[in-house]
Symmetry: C2
Subunit: 106 residues, 2 copies
């Protein structure tokens, strides 16, 4: 891993990562990356996260096949949040919805 | 405040809120809401957050004039993240950039 890391990690060593479809611009999901997930994403071009519930690295789509291929990555002004633009291979949500944000608050 | 709250708040009583321009679809910023910020946003139609650094409710644009008018709100499959679609009155970022995500990682 890199010696000094440019992202400002939270107390758990994580940053939120907003995933956006590079073509439709839809916000697909929000998950968390640690330094390892970030570096794996950069190195492989396939989006990886840190699963807070399972406490392990998770390559999105490893089980479902619904991978996310990285197209561009941005950090915010505070360097504590990532915007990850992707080309999705299928629905991003485990429910089968294209986006995890399928429930509108009325 | 509502008696039982449908959002799953984290250990600090917060959820991340991704703010997206309703017209350009650009992701403008990510900030945090507690129950009060959520309810103020719903009631007033002006986006409010919880400032973790100042530990207070913060109406976006109260000082700068760069307010965010709510157009739609969505929750994700886990009910622990908000997608807030808005019409921005000006640049969302305190740096004067339209979006806080103006630094691309090369």
């Amino acid at each position: 891993m890199e010696q000094s890391f440019f992202l400002k990690l939270d107390a758990n060593g994580l940053v939120p990562a907003v995933v956006q479809d590079c073509e439709t611009q839809a916000v697909l999901m929000v998950a968390w990356m640690n330094q390892e997930a970030y570096e794996l994403t950069r190195r492989t071009g396939q989006v990886h996260f840190w699963s807070r519930s399972r406490q392990e690295i998770w390559r999105k789509g490893a089980t479902s096949g619904n991978t996310l291929t990285l197209t561009a990555m941005w950090i915010d002004c505070d360097s504590d949040t990532l915007l990850v633009q992707v080309k999705p291979a299928g629905p991003a949500c485990h429910t089968g919805n294209i986006s995890c944000f399928y429930k509108q608050i009325k």
